[in-house]
Every structure is written in C-alpha cells, then in structure tokens.
Symmetry: C2
Subunit: 443 residues, 2 copies
C-alpha cells in the first residue's frame, strides 16, 4: 500500500510513525490501534507490511477485529485473513454475526474454510477451541537433516517449529521431536530414533485448564491435541496456555469476589451494562440468603431484648465465622484449581481442618473473652468464648466442604470462596450465638 | 550406577520400574519420588541416567532437594549439582542451611560457585532471582550458518537455544534472534542483519510479575535480563513465567481469602503449624476490626430497643455493603494485577463506579422494600430502602478505592479484596443504618 504510506508521509511526524510501525512489536502496535475507532484503525492498517499487519490484527481485541471486518475493503480483508493463524481466525469467525460470516467466508480458500468450520465446532473452553492446526508434522522415516529441511520449508506457516510432531500415514501421533534434538543429532540419524515416543497429549474435548496444567507441569513449548480416533488435529502452544492460566485466575478471582465470574474483555473496557449484569445476580441472591440470618435474629428477639449487650458481639462473631469459612474455602479452591488436591480428597483433608480450626477458635476465644468480661460480665464472656470456638470450627468446616460439594455437582468450586460461604456461615453464627445465649442466660 | 540397578532388577517388578524410569518424563518421576523419604529417594536416584537424574532432581520440591543434599554421597552430589540448571542450583543453595552450603560449595567448579553467589544475591521475587544464566549468546558478526553451528555447540548447557542473544564485546545486548530466523535465512546472512534490534528487556531488580507480564504480552519464549550497566546477565524462560503467573494468582487468591497470602509449598503438604500461622493473623486482626461494628451497634442500643424489628434487616444490609465492596475491590485488584488499570487511574474509574453502584443499590432497594413493608411497615421499609442504596454505593466506593490506596502505600492491593473491605463496609453499614433509623424513626 505505498499510496497510503506516501499520503501519510506528507505530514511531518509521519516519517517517525511509519518507521515505528515497521519496527515495533505487533502487541504494541495493536495496543495503540485498540484505542482508535474501527474506521480510523482501518486507515492505519495498510501502513503496515502484510505479515506484520496480520500479526497486529491477531493481537487486537475480538470486538475490534469484528469492527474492522465490517469496514476493511474486501480484497484487503481476504489477504489479512489468509495471513492470520488458524486459531485466531476461527476465534474471529466465532465472534462475527452470522450474516457477516456468510459475506466473508466465500473469499477464503477451501482449506481455510474447512479449518474454520472444524475449529469452530469445539465447545467453549475445550482444547479443541484453543488449539491451532498450524503445527509442524514430520514422517518418522526422515533423517535429521531432511527433517530440518522440512521444518525450514514449513516455518512460514507453522505456529512453532521447535516441537515437531511425528505422524504415521493415518495421521496417528507416534512421537515428538524438538528442533534442538534435530540440529544436535547426526545428520543421518532417523527421526524415529530421535523422537520421544508415547508423548503426553490431550484430546479435543479436554478442558483448557487440563491443557494448561500439562504444559505447565512438563514445561512444554506446545502440547499435541488428538481427536477421538487418536489422530493429530492441532497443538496448543505455551503462550496460549499462559493466557488460559491468566483467564482462569481472573475468573476464579471474580467468582471469589461475588460476581458472575465471566467478563468478556477487560475491566477497563467494560460498559456500565456489563458491570451491572456481572454484579447484580449475586448481590440480590445474597440479600435473600441473608434473610435467613435476619429471621434467626428475629427468632431470638426475646433473648436479645433481655440481654442487649449481646448485640455488641454479634458482628465480630458472625464475621469470624465468615472469615474462617472464607479462608478454608479459598485454600481448598486454590488446591483444587492447581491439582494439588483432588475431588475425592475431602475426607483426608477433614481431620487436619478440624485441628487447625479448633486451635484458631481457641485463640480467638482467648482474644475475645477479655473484651467479653469488660463489656458484658462473666456470663456473657462465657457465651461469647464458647460461641467463638464453635463458629470458627463450623465456618471452617463449611468453607472447606463447600468447594468439594460444588465440584461434585459440576459447579465451579471457585464460587465457594465468595460471599456464598460467608452468608452460610453468617446464618450458622447467628443461630449458634443466640442458641447458646438462651441456654446459658435464659430469656 | 549399574550395581544399584542390578540389585534392583533382582526383584520381579523392578524390570518394569527401571524401564519406566528411563522413559518417563522428569516431572512424573519427581512426583513419584516426592512421596518417599529422602533416604529412600537417595537410593532411587542412582537408578536414573545422569542427565535424567539432574532433571528429576530439579523438579523435586525444595525441601526434598535439601533433604537429599544431606544424604546423597559427596561424589554423586557434585555430579548432580553440575548437571542442574543455574537458576535451580541457586534456588537450592538459597534454601540450604549455611553450614550445609559451606560443606557442598567447595565441591563445585569455580564458575558455578560464582554463579550461585551472583544469582543468590538478588531480592526475592525479582527478575534476578528467577533468571538463569544458561542463555545462548551470539556475536553480531557471525553468519547464520556459523550461528546455528554455535547454538548446536551450546545446546547441552543452554536453557533454550530457540532465542539467542546478540551481545557486543562489553556484553551489552544489541539484539535477539530466533533459531527459526537463523535456519530459514540464507546461510551467509549476518546475525546483525537477522536480529531484532532494541529488544524488549527487563532488569535484575524488576518485579517477577513485570517479567511474566512482558513474556505473556509478547508471547516470548524467553526475556533477556540486564544488570544496572545494561549488560546481559540472564534470561527468564516462558515456563518460569507461567510458574510466576500461577504463584501470583495463588498469592492473590489467598490474600483475597483473608489469609497471610504466602504458603511455602502446597496446601496438601502444609503442616498444622503452617496453616495456623497462615490464618491466625487476619482472623484476630478482624475481630478487633469488628469491635467497631459492635461499638456502633452499642451506640444505637436505644434506637434498637425501641424498634427491635430493625434487627431483622441488619445482617442483609451489612452483608450487602460488604458484598458490593468485595465485588468492586476484586474487579480493581484483578484489573491492577493484569495491568489493565494502572495506579493513577482511580479518578477515571470513579464516575463509572458511582453509576454502576447506584443502579445496583436501587435494584436492591426495590428488592428489599417489599420485605421491609411486610416485616416492619412503611417507616422501616423506607429506612431499609434508603440505607440499601447508600450502603451499596458506599461499600462499592470503599471497595474500588482500597486497592489503589494500598498500592499507593506499597502494600499488595490483593489484600483489599479480602475480608478487610468487608469489615470496613460492615462498620459503615451499621452506622448508616441506625443513623438513618434514628433520624426517620426517632429513638
């Protein structure tokens, strides 16, 4: 697009801009473009050399990519889509409205259309959905020298050539070989002898978290993905695995913070409507949950009316139950998320939890009984101290059990570390506190 | 170690074990060994071929590595340490008691001792502490063919040869070149012409999170680390960056869950004492924080005594304040952690927060006023509805501001999404609720 560039160069500062665009890393250029309107960005894209252009386009947020598809001229769009990596192209088509897909698809080559159709078919958050079909494949009968030659030929189109996948005639994966191994081996050594046989793999339907875990565990550059018949259909690269780890951490954090957990795009870019929808469900739901605490208090109104000083300790007792529960839940959620603890380990964790929570409860009881004595006298101090031990224990047990229960019902355990456990612990705290008070103090 | 292996093979099932050990991935063997006592593991290690042995050793948890150092014979230990990667070796020496260091260090080569001394000097969680000095360096004057030859020679000792770092005579970094570029280029092309000049770098003192963010942002295989004089001193690889992302996510989650945030090792492997210490600080601290809520309630005892039905709504109002606060805090903590929002963006986020929280507060007020009418009549319903709008707004503003305030005081913003914000919101909720009740209802 020399025309566009020379038009730009007429301005003084454009020489600088243009040399920056050629030199800068795609992620940085994409960052700059993401702040523009699609129409402005469409004018900036032709300033880039074609491969750089596709790389930059791939780094743009999806909503920006869709916006650009609508305004970039047909010929330029086809060229852009052809240079994109297969997984990014499939993601884009998944995000496009169907009429736009229908307009753009015919412009692509048959193989790319097939690719998009296949990659788009996999469920959200599966290995199939995040993999790319641009992998480097080798035949087992090649020599190291021939293999390097083949990788050199494939390089422009492959996501990575540092791991190559050795497949037989039926595309079954028989091994993995690294470029490092290939270039350090004797030139006439056979790929079949250099490869690592029986490689670690995942399947198209596996959860993306499983894929990220395997890549993280073995420090892989990429993980091969097989279909149901054991044929190699794609790879997930380490940089995509890192995106998964980050996305899952964000999702877990948002769930733990009492939101719906899924925010398309960034916090900064979210609209009022998106933020409202992200937050309203749990807030309203928990209001109704907390009605049980209110009902518990109402049930004990006579005890409270007779011993108003009890109210002083109410917030700290229910907060302690909730805090202990939230600690236990968080520890278990993280342990489950990192694979450190498995769904069937609940009973094994239970004994230790009772011990730790018991010790914590006793510590808290000691800490609070002095204040109990000062504010309410020996009877109330006794009630408060006993309640503290019980609610910390109870809160902890609820907190550590809830993630296991949720994962049993195929819900995300991360939900447990949020206000859900606090609300349940609150109800338990109210009932235990005034129940003990009624027994010890009468009403 | 053929002696150990033949002794083992005398048993029936050991043939299988032995062939598994040769074939298995280091991470898997390490996982199996980690469940043994150090003395048992020390007997198992000699069954492995030397390079596999060092790789497996590197994957063992640090406490296991230290345990093994104490029981593995001197000669075997020296060999093991020599085969380890520089960063793992430095981590191990950091974890060893000083008398053990003094015993082991003399057995190592001068260069390795220097390396350990240098790598151990960097502060915890800095780029320097997680980098390795086993990088591949090239001179700019080499041809592509010579460079590949050089990488082939370096390969056995380098952490990665897929990115090579081009340095001048003073070890200043002048560019980065990928092996992909080198093998696809004309054999006589100069490295200086193939390399990407002005590469993205980090410095030894930079936070490890910054390093992980750069690697994630640009999808790098490794990031070069410079010292204060701009000399190349190491690299951080993508797999180490992924470990950082996971560790930081765990730390943030634990902080959000109201624990001290740092657990050496896994949740599963933690001792009662470690778990107690992880949890006790915030639990006790928050008890004292909640005394303010108690004092608030005590202050309004006359209002409460005159209108006991108010108590029914207390838990849900203070919980709503806390939940709204925890949502806002979590969103900001995540946005700050991922670099989506920066420390100076507080005021820009404020307007949107007020709008969203206002809408949420109104929704909640509508949801609760029906129950207010039914449980307490129109006056109490009015008090509850007004309180709801204010506490959701107030909680949200406290929640979104706290992470910024903490990062201003150089504290970890993730602390904000924990029970800290809930406790502050609780106090605010109590004061607002009974304050409004006193005005509307009298006492």
């Amino acid at each position: 697009m020399p025309r566009a560039r020379s038009r730009c160069l007429a301005r003084d500062d454009c020489g600088l801009l243009s040399s920056w665009l050629d030199d800068a890393l795609p992620a940085d250029v994409a960052d700059a473009l993401a702040h523009l309107e699609p129409a402005q960005a469409a004018r900036a894209l032709p300033l880039l050399a074609p491969p750089q252009r596709a790389a930059v386009f791939g780094y743009l947020p999806l909503h920006m990519q869709s916006g650009l598809v609508a305004v970039v001229p047909r010929a330029a769009l086809t060229e852009l889509l052809e240079h994109m990596s297969a997984d990014e192209r499939a993601d884009l088509f998944n995000a496009l409205p169907s009429e736009q897909c229908a307009q753009v698809l015919p412009a692509l080559a048959q193989a790319q259309r097939e690719d998009i159709r296949r990659l788009s078919a996999y469920g959200q958050d599966t290995a199939g959905a995040i993999m790319t079909s641009d992998y480097a494949a080798l035949a087992p009968g090649l020599t190291a020298q021939q293999a390097v030659e083949e990788l050199r030929r494939i390089a422009p189109d492959a996501e990575t050539i540092y791991n190559a996948y050795v497949i037989d005639d039926a595309r079954h994966l028989v091994g993995v070989v690294t470029l490092r191994r290939l270039i350090t081996a004797a030139p006439d050594a056979l790929v079949a002898d250099l490869m690592q046989p029986r490689p670690i793999v995942a399947h198209v339907g596996d959860d993306q978290e499983t894929v990220a875990e395997l890549i993280g565990r073995y420090d892989f550059i990429a993980l091969p993905i097989l279909d149901a018949d054991g044929r190699l259909v794609g790879i997930v690269t380490a940089d995509d695995a890192m995106d998964v780890v980050r996305a899952e951490a964000t999702e877990d954090a948002l769930l733990a913070g009492g939101t719906a957990g899924r925010l398309a795009g960034t916090v900064r870019g979210a609209t009022i409507r998106q933020l409202y929808r992200l937050r309203v469900f749990w807030l309203v739901l928990l209001v109704f949950g907390n009605i049980f605490s209110g009902a518990g208090i109402a049930h004990f109104e006579d005890v409270i009316a007779a011993h108003l000083p009890l109210l002083f300790f109410l917030p700290l007792l229910i907060a302690s139950a909730g805090n202990a529960g939230s600690q236990s839940a968080t520890l278990m959620v993280r342990a489950l998320a990192t694979g450190d603890v498995r769904a069937q380990d609940w009973s094994r964790m239970l004994g230790r939890e009772v011990l730790v929570a018991g010790l914590l409860g006793l510590t808290m009881a000691v800490a609070i009984s002095a204040i109990g004595l000062w504010r309410g006298g020996p009877d109330i101090a006794t009630v408060v101290a006993i309640t503290m031990v019980i609610v910390v224990l109870l809160g902890s047990l609820i907190g550590m059990s809830l993630p296991f229960a949720l994962s049993k019902f195929r819900l995300d355990p991360a939900t447990a570390s949020g206000p859900l456990v606090t609300s349940i612990a609150d109800v338990a705290g109210v009932l235990v506190y005034f129940g003990i008070a009624r027994v010890v103090l009468g009403s």
